[in-house]
Symmetry: C2
Subunit: 367 residues, 2 copies
């Protein structure tokens, strides 16, 4: 793995970088679409390539439960299993254990929980998370953390920071692969003091990359922005920074402003399946009656397969008729929008006009 | 439109032909996948091109109800609406009116029925069916017929044959387009005498192509085979012959043997969505546990995108997890299978070994 910062914005924390993994090179800031169950919903690897996706995220929790990390390892690892030759990042499972599973019980060793699929009981701690991620074989892997709910009180979050550091140490001890890059995760909820404490502890352990976890869990944009801006200065400038689960285009601009390099979010893909499309002029709800006879593409400035072949009228028809093609065409468009948005951000950083780009974007989209 | 028979089998009724429409040329015998609502379920036009599909079927009944033929005409016709540059055949709506709608009432003028979507009342007769199909703008269109249920008694079917002939005359009178080829439909249920009567009447009117309707409605394979074999001799040898709604590979072989040129069926696409895959060694139910760790493609002899990129294990995982990609990958495979099957049939006819091909196919697949 190699990460290097190639440009820095002169008037904000924004930076441009280059990340090299065993499965290729990609430029940062980067957006990683979410392929929860080993597939970015509604898309094939070929669709992802055509959307110029270079790295995607898969969920350890889901793949552990079904089809199982052992099965995926025996079949040659996640890249081979899903026929994806680009880079993959797996999360640690920590967030899903808290948000999806039932009856979770946290101990010093890890978390016992019931599967959301069949109610069966499972245990994942830092050792298990590392073993599952080793078997899956992603290029970028995450330390197992304790993601505090929102809102959470100071004492809860202080303990969550303590556990996260304790588990991070174990993850580092278990990590022996040169082909997988391990990120540490900073927790600390909405408490600046605990964020600083967590960042200092995690950074002191010497990870190859750093993530901010426990955000985009219900807090408002200003709070999130403040926490990110306060925390990033504690992270080493030479290492990649990943803001987990974020987010809307305006949230990504906030993150880039603070010096974040990597983002992931279900928003473009989930919204697509709900008929909510991103355009350069703001959101478009394809089911609206006003599009019934609209022969224009979703976005006249867009060069995706959907916009170059189909009208809003046809996409509305597919969506109203619940045709499977609707979900794919909408997802192709939204992902193309996000990937293009990141390309524009990177270009604006290289040309040292990121702050102007951000301003113009927020005005045009009404964010 | 131009249709010519290019080869005839020396030991069966099988024949090879070439059909030219305003949207290209295709070889017969041909299989037309079903794109009920203006989309072959789960596939994009690009997927269809890659599967070498040259002509597809769309349903007049469905498109009339939603989004409406007027809307599609205003948006440039069905080809433009769905972004499909190949040929299209629309059925007359007759079959769906009987099989899907509620409270249908047949008169001498046509059928009054309630929409399966919202219960609203509609009327379609021969004039309406022709007007809807004119607006949709398919290359091949069908006369409006009365499709008898199965089983139906002699008197019911005799009246159905009478109405079908009466309506066929009106369809011919209403048909003024050079860019659309109108097929007449032969009815007559499972009564040889009524099939002959219907065929004589319809053929005497001088259509550009002839279809056998009212089959694949529940009768057994031997009955269907007999009816087709008895009826085809009454159809002119120089015109294309279309066996509507058929069928399984063995049914297609039966039809080709009798001299049928065109087929359509939901089987490959519907089965795909249910996880039932066609292979050269017979059907494969992808959900079966024996495929959980099976790294082989669905069919080792298949060159489709699915078989060249994904294992049975991955396809099973997608299917069990109800991932949208499952339906598309399965459909790509099944359609590739059907299109390849038709290519093999045509080649065997050209090389005058169709009967041997049929025999070998039925033995290998266990039909």
């Amino acid at each position: 793995m190699e990460f290097k910062v190639t440009h820095r914005c002169s008037t904000s924390g924004a930076r441009r970088g280059q990340f090299t993994t065993p499965h290729g090179r990609f430029e940062t800031p980067v957006f990683m679409p979410v392929g929860t169950q080993g597939t970015v919903k509604a898309l094939s690897p070929n669709d992802l390539e055509q959307a110029l996706v270079s790295v995607l995220l898969a969920n350890t929790y889901h793949l552990y439960l079904r089809p199982g990390h052992g099965l995926i390892e025996r079949l040659g690892g996640l890249h081979h299993f899903m026929s994806w030759n680009g880079s993959i990042l797996t999360d640690s499972g920590g967030y899903q254990v808290y948000s999806l599973s039932k009856l979770r019980k946290i101990s010093e060793q890890g978390v016992t929980f019931q599967s959301h699929l069949d109610g069966s009981t499972h245990f994942i701690g830092p050792r298990e998370a590392m073993e599952i991620q080793r078997a899956l074989g992603a290029d970028l892997i995450m330390a197992f953390d304790e993601c505090a709910p929102y809102p959470a009180n100071y004492d809860y979050v202080r303990n969550s920071v303590r556990l996260t550091s304790q588990w991070a140490r174990i993850c580092l001890e278990c990590h022996h692969s040169d082909s997988q890059t391990l990120f540490g995760i900073v927790q600390g909820g909405m408490f600046s003091e605990l964020r600083e404490k967590s960042a200092r502890e995690i950074v002191s352990m010497g990870f190859e990359g750093y993530a901010l976890g426990g955000l985009s869990v219900g807090e408002d944009r200003a709070t999130r922005q403040q926490i990110v801006h306060e925390t990033v200065p504690f992270l080493p400038a030479a290492k990649p920074r990943y803001l987990m689960g974020v987010g809307k285009p305006e949230d990504i601009l906030d993150g880039v402003t603070a010096g974040i390099d990597m983002f992931d979010c279900v928003l473009p893909t989930r919204n697509a399946r709900n008929g909510a499309l991103f355009t350069t002029h703001g959101p478009l709800a394809i089911k609206n009656a006003c599009y019934a006879e609209d022969d224009r593409p979703v976005d006249e400035h867009c060069s995706c397969y959907t916009c170059t072949h189909f009208s809003r009228a046809y996409l509305r028809h597919l969506f109203m008729a619940k045709e499977l093609l609707a979900y794919r065409l909408n997802t192709i468009h939204n992902l193309h929008y996000y990937i293009g948005f990141m390309t524009d951000i990177r270009q604006s950083i290289r040309e040292d006009r990121f702050v102007e780009f951000r301003q113009a974007f927020l005005e045009q989209s009404g964010s």
